[in-house]
C-alpha cells in the first residue's frame, strides 16, 4: 500500500483538538517532573497528587467535551471510535484512583513522588493511545510506554524485596512477550504490506494488495494466509500477556503479590482495558480476511476456556488475597475473551449491516464488562489497600466487626465479581450476561456453558472471603496480624477523596447493574457517536 506513497504534497489531516487529552497527559507528566524539581520533597508530595489527578480529570473531561473526533484522525494513526473513547475513560478513571491512593503510599514507603506521578501519567498516556491506536507500530510503542512505566511503578518501592522480584519477573516476561508481539507485527506487515489497521482491513476485504512494479505495472499480490495466521498468533501472545490470559498469565500472581497495591490495581484494570480495546480493533480488522476465523477461532477458544478454568481452579486454593485476585483476573479475562471469540466468528456468519450490528453489540458487551471489571477491582483492591489487607486471607477474619463499611464494600465487590449465577443487580452480572448472551446467540452454547460452570466455581472462593469477613470469629491467624487493626503492617488512613472514590465504586456497581444502558448510553450522548 505505502509503496505508492510519498512525495506528493503532504496534506496533514490532523484534528488538532483530538490530541488535547493526550497532550494534557504528556504535559502533566512533564509538569510533575518540573514541580518536583522545583519544590523539593515535601512540596512535591503536597502538590503533585493534585496536579496528576487534575490532569487525569481534565483529560477525561476532554473526552466528554467531544474534543476527540469519533473517527480516524492524525494520518490514520488513531481511530477514536466511541468504544476506544469509553475504554480511554475507563483507563483514566482507574489511574485517577491510583493518584488518590498515591499520597499515603508515597509517604509511608518514602517513594520519589515526582517520578511516581509522572510515570502514572505517562502510563495512562500509553494506555489511552493503545486503546485508540489504529496502527500497529503506534500500538507497540504505546504499549511499551505504559509497560515500561508499569514495570517501574510495580517495583518503585525499592525497600521491598518482593517488589523487586515482582518487577523483575514482570519485566523479563513482558519483554519476552513483546518480542513475540513484534515478530507478529512483522508477519502481519508481510501479509498486508501495511501497518495501518484500516488499510489492513481493506486489503483483507479485497484479498490482494496492489503493488506498483517497474514500468508502472500494477500487480495484485495475494494475501498470504500463513502470514496472517502467524502474525495474529504472535500478536495475540503479546496481548494475552497483558491480559494475563492462560497460559501467558503466570506473571500475574507474583506481580500482584509483590507489587504495591495501587500499581497492581492499575495493572489489573487499566492495562487490561487498553490491551483489550486494541485486541478488539485488531480482530475486527483481521476478521475481514476470509480464512481468518478458521484459524483464529480455536486459538481464541482455547485461550478463553483454559483461562476460565485455570484461573478459577487455581484461585480456589489460594490463601493470599492478592494471588486470589490475580487468578480471578485471569478468569475474568477469559470471560471477556469469549466476546472476542464471537467477534472472530461473526464475519463467517453474517455480513453487511447485520455484521455491523453484531459487532456493535459485542463492543457494547465487552465495554460494559470492562467497565464493570474495572469498578469491581478498584473497589476490591481499594478496600484491601485501605484496611491494610493484601496479605493472608485469614487476616480478614471477622472484618465486619472491626470495620463494617469496608467489609460491606469488599463483600459487594466479591458478589459482583461472582457475577452470573449469583448476583443479578450488579455490574458483574450484567457484563457476563451481555457477553454470554452474545456467545449463545452466535451458537457457542458449549463455551457459554463452560463459562457458566467456571462462574459457578468462582462463587466458592469469592464467597469464601465473604464468609471469612462475615462469619468467622476475630481470632488472630498465625500467619499475619488481622487486617483493619493497628497491628496490620500496611494499614493506612483513608483520605476523604479515597473514601469518596470507593463509595462511588460501590454505587456504580449497582447503578450500572440496574441501568446498564446508562453506561452504553455514554457512548451515544457524551462522546461522539454510538459505541461503534
Amino acid at each position: 500500500m505505502d509503496s505508492s506513497l510519498p512525495v506528493q504534497a503532504y496534506v496533514p489531516e490532523i484534528h488538532p483538538t483530538g490530541l488535547i487529552p493526550f497532550l494534557l497527559l504528556l504535559l502533566g507528566g512533564i509538569a510533575c517532573l518540573v514541580v518536583d524539581a522545583a519544590t523539593g520533597k515535601e512540596g512535591s508530595r503536597r502538590y503533585l497528587p493534585w496536579i496528576a489527578g487534575g490532569t487525569l480529570l481534565a483529560s477525561i473531561t476532554c473526552f466528554f467535551l467531544r474534543l476527540v473526533p469519533g473517527e480516524v484522525f492524525l494520518e490514520d494513526t488513531f481511530r477514536a471510535d466511541a468504544f476506544g473513547q469509553l475504554a480511554s475513560i475507563i483507563i483514566l478513571a482507574s489511574t485517577f484512583v491510583m493518584t488518590t491512593m498515591g499520597p499515603s503510599l508515597v509517604r509511608r514507603r518514602n517513594l520519589p513522588s515526582g517520578e511516581f506521578y509522572t510515570l502514572i501519567l505517562f502510563a495512562s498516556l500509553g494506555m489511552t493511545l493503545l486503546a485508540i491506536s489504529n496502527e500497529l507500530l503506534t500500538a507497540f510503542i504505546s504499549l511499551e510506554v505504559f509497560a515500561l512505566s508499569l514495570y517501574v511503578l510495580v517495583g518503585i518501592d525499592r525497600r521491598s524485596r518482593k517488589a523487586a522480584e515482582a518487577c523483575f519477573k514482570y519485566f523479563v516476561l513482558g519483554a519476552f512477550a513483546s518480542a513475540f508481539l513484534v515478530f507478529g507485527i512483522a508477519f502481519l506487515y508481510g501479509a498486508a504490506h501495511t501497518t495501518f489497521l484500516t488499510e489492513m482491513a481493506e486489503v483483507f476485504r479485497q484479498g490482494y494488495v496492489e503493488s506498483v512494479g517497474p514500468e508502472g505495472a500494477v500487480t495484485e499480490i495475494p494475501v498470504n494466509t500463513m502470514y496472517v495466521f502467524v502474525g495474529f498468533a504472535f500478536m495475540f501472545v503479546g496481548i494475552c500477556f497483558k491480559l494475563s490470559l492462560a497460559p501467558f498469565h503466570m506473571w500475574a500472581p507474583d506481580v500482584y503479590q509483590g507489587g504495591n497495591m495501587p500499581a497492581v490495581m492499575v495493572v489489573a484494570t487499566a492495562s487490561k482495558v487498553a490491551a483489550f480495546a486494541f485486541l478488539v480493533h485488531l480482530v475486527e480488522a483481521l476478521s475481514y480476511w476470509q480464512g481468518f476465523a478458521s484459524g483464529a477461532v480455536y486459538i481464541v477458544t482455547a485461550v478463553a476456556v483454559v483461562s476460565m478454568l485455570w484461573g478459577n481452579l487455581a484461585a480456589l486454593v489460594q490463601t493470599n488475597f492478592r494471588r486470589m485476585m490475580a487468578f480471578s483476573s485471569v478468569a475474568h479475562s477469559g470471560y471477556m475473551t469469549v466476546g472476542i471469540l464471537v467477534l472472530v466468528a461473526l464475519p463467517g456468519l453474517m455480513s453487511g449491516a447485520e455484521l455491523e450490528a453484531g459487532q456493535l453489540l459485542i463492543r457494547q458487551a465487552v465495554i460494559l464488562y470492562m467497565a464493570g471489571y474495572t469498578v469491581m477491582n478498584i473497589l476490591a483492591f481499594g478496600v484491601a489497600y485501605y484496611i491494610g489487607g493484601g496479605g493472608h486471607m485469614a487476616a480478614y477474619r471477622g472484618l465486619v466487626y472491626r470495620r463494617p463499611l469496608p467489609a460491606a464494600g469488599m463483600a459487594i465487590a466479591m458478589f459482583s465479581l461472582v457475577g452470573i449465577g449469583f448476583t443479578p443487580p450488579t455490574i458483574g452480572f450484567m457484563g457476563k450476561f451481555y457477553i454470554f448472551k452474545e456467545a449463545v446467540q452466535v451458537g457457542f452454547v458449549g463455551i457459554a456453558v463452560i463459562a457458566l460452570l467456571a462462574s459457578v466455581i468462582s462463587a466458592f472462593y469469592y464467597l469464601n472471603l465473604v464468609v471469612t469477613m462475615f462469619m468467622r470469629a476475630e481470632t488472630k491467624p498465625a500467619e499475619a496480624p488481622l487486617a483493619g487493626t493497628p497491628e496490620a503492617p500496611v494499614q493506612v488512613g483513608g483520605e476523604l477523596l479515597a473514601r469518596v472514590v470507593l463509595v462511588t465504586a460501590c454505587v456504580l456497581i449497582f447503578v450500572f447493574g440496574i441501568f446498564p444502558q446508562l453506561f452504553i448510553g455514554l457512548g451515544e450522548t457524551l462522546v461522539n457517536g454510538a459505541v461503534r
Binding site: D2, S3, L5, P6, L137, F140, I141, E144, L148, Y151, V152, G155, R158, R161, K162, A164, E165, A166, C167, F168, K169, F171, V172, A175, F176, S178, A179, F180, V182, F183, I185, A186, F187, Y189, G190, H193, T194, T195, S211, G213, I221, P253, D254, Q257, G258, Q318, N320, R323
Partner: protein
Amino acid sequence: MEPVFQANLILSTLLFTIGVLGVMWKRNAISLFMSVELMLNAANLAFVTFAFQLGLLSGGILVLFIMTVAAAEAGVGLAIFIALFRVHRHIRVDEQDMLRG
C-alpha cells in the same frame, strides 16, 4: 535473489528460536535479556526482509522504531537488574522465587 527471501525469513525464525531458548535456559538475568534482544533482532530482520521483498519503503522506519524500543527496554531492564542486584548481590534468575504458589 529470491532464495534470500525465504532463507532470510528462516534465518529470522532461527534467531528468534535461539532467543527463546536463551530466555528459557540462561541463568543470568543479563544473558537472559540479551536473548530477548536477539529475538527483537530477529523480528527486525523479518521486517527488513519483508520490506525488501515486497517493495515497501516503510520497513526501515519500523526497524528504526523497534531499535529505539529495544534501547529503552534495555535501559529500564538493566536498571531493574541493578536494583535486583542490590537486593540479592547476584542476579541469578532461578533464585528469584520468593513469590510463588
